[in-house]
Symmetry: C2
Subunit: 344 residues, 2 copies
DNA sequence: CTGAAAGCGCTAACAT
DNA sequence: ATGTTAGCGCTTTCAG
């Protein structure tokens, strides 16, 4: 059924050359004369030659593959990171194997093992909600397979990471609300075990403290990042006595669901309750009022992570010198938080 | 730097067995006695053996890889398809190589070549906007590599396809608007070269015809699927004389942007203009009014496409018997279109 | 049930 | 500038 593939032997025979020359020419090795190279390429094209990656990889012990391991694929943030990674990786001739854990630690471990067995040359990963142990990444380090984390990382580890300053971002979000006159600021977030949420939370607390507002634990809502979470949070907030006058939600999508629920209960945003989200998802400026948020440049993060990893694989830099790369983030003010002044 | 890998030779030496036996045992070949197999597995585990996929693939001429080729990755529809494909593929032990063309025909051709050279065992693809020629898929068919299309397909080809009934969906959308009392229904869509948009358009026209409404070409707006397209379309619609009383937009995201723009111009939705979108993106019920739309079950489509492909690769079914699989879709009525009656 | 041995297609040292 | 040659690690006949 399948037609036999053309190999470099066929090309060599046809041109009365050795396979070595063919192999070199195909890699643009300057050792081969321009003329022979041209002949080889022409014949390869004519005969429909396609190189065998498996033979090549088997020989060269490189897979030219990067693993991309995340907690969720259906997230606009993760997708922009993926787009960035894919762009850089493809340009550099690397394939991607994508694995997602659906926020399950066990699946994350299984995925890590799988990618390890598939011998990815490097790994780009973001941890699931409650990953604490990092043992499943040990095999990589033991075999000197570089690993770089982004977004959700384990701060007390030796792995390289690409992140934003979550503490600062949380601080900015809360400070902005305070400056708008909010005094009872609820915080809707996810598992505080995870660095990103923990740090945004601590930024929020720092801001409160700096402005002389006592932290009130009853204003903290921890949930997952589903649409339902947004709705439930809104209901919880509506039930609070006295009612908050501001909310800092660590996810735009959740914020959108939350806002909608509040509005159906006749809460005016931002007049009654001001809202700040996180991520700068497209949804933020399609809802009303437009959502103030923290810009979280996923695509850039992906590009930086991929570039760093590939530079390491090339040998043009060494990842073990790099602890953390912090990408710029920042507050984007829109109408959902503007109790004072005007905005779009 | 890298530690040498354990191979089946190491296992064979250690256990005084041949590599053949090791190889068989590792594949659960019943020819190997339970006892030897157990010893082999234990040692493999103990020594940290991991199989070399390249050697295996080189030998067995199978890559266990499926190509996934799409026009865009940053789309919630495509992502749900991907999620479905990934689920099935992973479960069946296949890797995915993902390539996207950013709606460029040239890039699509390049990606097809690349995936072909990487020797994917099969291909799942959705075409870019203006792909007409299908020559870049010929190499696959020539080598009997199965290809299955979804969503954007070329109807006049022999390739298998997983789609929804776009004509019917377009008809339903338009009919619903008509039933709500709309008489001037604008249609915002994308390149009519592409089957999906062409068929939704023809469905829209059929509905108009069936209800005795003359088709008015000036109500047709063709654009890309960007946020900007939504805004521009809204402006065009506002400029129309007389103004439309309904819009059928073939994409929820574009619809959201369009609605927002209309609203800033004090158009009431649905009272002044009723709106129906397409895709059932999450954004649809987070905006106000909630968007009536066509449910387009991406995840299921991905699952069906992947399963069909893998069944073919297994030999448990033959893809060349399958022309088209049509997945159920249907109208979801929300408030954006309800001129009469009540909805959420 | 197990073993011997050939070879998948390519690369890279070494040789010329 | 080109050729020779020895494997990379595995699977799979064929032979016991």
């Amino acid at each position: 059924m399948k037609v036999r593939e053309i190999t470099i032997y066929d090309l060599a025979n046809e041109l009365k050359l050795s396979t070595a020359t063919i192999s070199r020419a195909l890699k643009d090795d300057p050792l081969v004369s321009k003329k022979t190279r041209k002949r080889i390429f022409e014949l390869a094209e004519k005969m429909g030659y396609r190189s065998n990656h498996f033979a090549r990889n088997l020989r060269s012990q490189k897979t030219n593959t990067i693993g991309f391991m995340v907690h969720e694929l259906q997230s606009s943030f993760i997708n922009s990171v993926l787009a960035g990674v894919e762009k850089i990786a493809t340009a550099a001739g690397y394939d991607l194997i994508i694995a997602h854990s659906s926020e399950s630690y066990d699946k994350e471990v299984a995925n890590a093992n799988n990618l390890f067995h598939k011998r990815v040359d490097g790994l780009i990963a973001s941890l699931s909600f409650d990953t604490r142990k990092m043992d499943h990444f040990r095999p990589f380090t033991e075999k000197s397979v570089p690993v770089i984390f982004f977004d959700r990382v384990e701060r007390n580890s030796d792995y390289s990471a690409v992140i934003i300053d979550n503490h600062k971002s949380g601080y900015q979000a809360a400070r902005h609300l305070i400056e708008q006159g909010c005094r009872r600021i609820a915080h809707v977030t996810s598992s505080l075990v995870r660095n990103v949420y923990a740090e945004r939370f601590s930024g929020y607390r720092s801001a409160l403290e700096d402005y002389g507002i006592t932290y009130d634990e009853s204003l903290l809502i921890v949930n997952d990042l589903s649409e339902k979470a947004g709705i439930v949070s809104a209901e919880q907030i509506l039930a609070m006595q006295p009612r908050p006058d501001g909310i800092f939600i660590t996810n735009d999508f959740v914020a959108a669901a939350c806002m909608l629920t509040l509005k159906t209960h006749n809460i005016r945003i931002p007049e009654d309750i001001a809202v700040v989200g996180f991520n700068n998802d497209a949804i933020g400026h399609l809802i009303e009022p437009a959502l103030t948020t923290i810009n979280y440049p996923g695509e850039e993060m992906g590009e930086v992570a991929a570039r760093t990893l590939i530079d390491h694989l090339n040998g043009s830099s060494n990842i073990s010198n790099i602890s953390t790369i912090i990408i710029n983030s920042g507050l984007i003010v829109r109408r959902s938080s503007l109790k004072k002044g005007v905005g779009r």
